[in-house]
Amino acid sequence: MVRGWKAVLAVAGLAVLGAIPSATLAQDNMQSDSMKKDDAMQDGMKHDAMKHDDMAPDKNAKALFTGTFHGKVHSTSGRATVYQGTDGKRILRLTHFKTSNGPDVHVVLVATRDAKDDANSLSGNTERIELGKLKGNEGDQNYELPENIDLGKFQTVSIYCERFNAIFGAAALAKF
């Protein structure tokens, strides 16, 4: 019996050991990929700025709402700000941002004032707007807002782990 379990444990151990480096590699890849993309974006922006003058109106982009993050299930900090460009497009930007890493973590707008009615998880009938997967658990990042969202209604930015229905952290938006 002992030998049998040893074999099982050995295989299990190998499987875990095998999984970790591959996951690490995958993440490293993701990281360098996204960094490349950002560089490209920045280059693109510089390019645009040099080529055209139509970057100028963007100077008038306005911060509409802002709030600071506080941790719920995991410690979370930083600032969430909604900007509006002159073209009317709105973008959520996270700055000084930090939360814990996790599986299947998303950025969502929740139709509550600071997700107060349900502290650590989202109840099924809470209206929410998906903004996409969390790009990174640290650092500055932007998320486009779908058009026609009423930000008077969706007043909370939530870092939400779909898999475990856990709110890592939330920020209540207030008029800037």
Partner: protein, 169 residues
């Protein structure tokens, strides 16, 4: 009996192994325990490049103390390095000799409404109006790492109308 069991398990150890693998794989995918130790850091550029304009560096929401007070207090930094405080959507009650001051967050006076004794403050000037958007220049030497609380302060009666805890923008 015992020997029988042992031999049965050791004979079938590969079956256990084959079952254990996908179970472990699913468990790993579910919990991703390695993420506890691995950070994904990103650094996207601001979507709208604001060049040659004052940038917000600290901001906070105003809250009433002695009198209902609302709005936002934001400290902007101009490209030339000068800082100024801007109150927006601002409303408080009118009063005599009301000033805008910066206090330390640890200031004892913030525990109550009336101020007794000396107040360690950075004076920004008389309140220009009890409603509306307004700007106040900050003295060049102001240490914003220390003075992070905006207070609407009535000098005559030593009463704090409202405060705002500034946080990094």
């Amino acid at each position: 009996m015992n020997t029988n069991q042992r031999s049965w398990i050791s004979r079938n150890k590969w079956i256990f192994a084959v079952i254990a693998l996908p179970v472990l794989a699913v468990a790993w995918w579910e919990f991703r325990p390695e993420k506890l130790f691995i950070n994904e850091k990103v650094s996207e550029a601001a979507p709208f490049a604001a060049r040659g304009e004052a940038q917000p560096v600290y901001t906070g929401v105003l809250e009433g103390k002695a009198h209902p007070t609302s709005g936002r207090a934001t400290i902007y930094q101009s490209p030339d390095g000068k800082n100024y405080l801007r109150l927006s959507d601002f409303a408080t009650s009118n009063g005599p000799d009301v000033h805008v001051v910066l206090l330390k967050a640890v200031e004892k006076a913030l525990g109550g409404v009336a101020v007794t004794g000396e107040l360690d403050k950075v004076e920004l000037g008389s309140l220009k109006g009890n409603q509306g958007d307004q700007n106040y220049d900050l003295p060049a030497a102001t240490d914003l790492n220390k003075y992070q609380t905006v207070a609407i302060y009535c000098e005559r009666f030593h009463v704090i109308f409202g405060t705002s805890q500034l946080e990094k923008f």
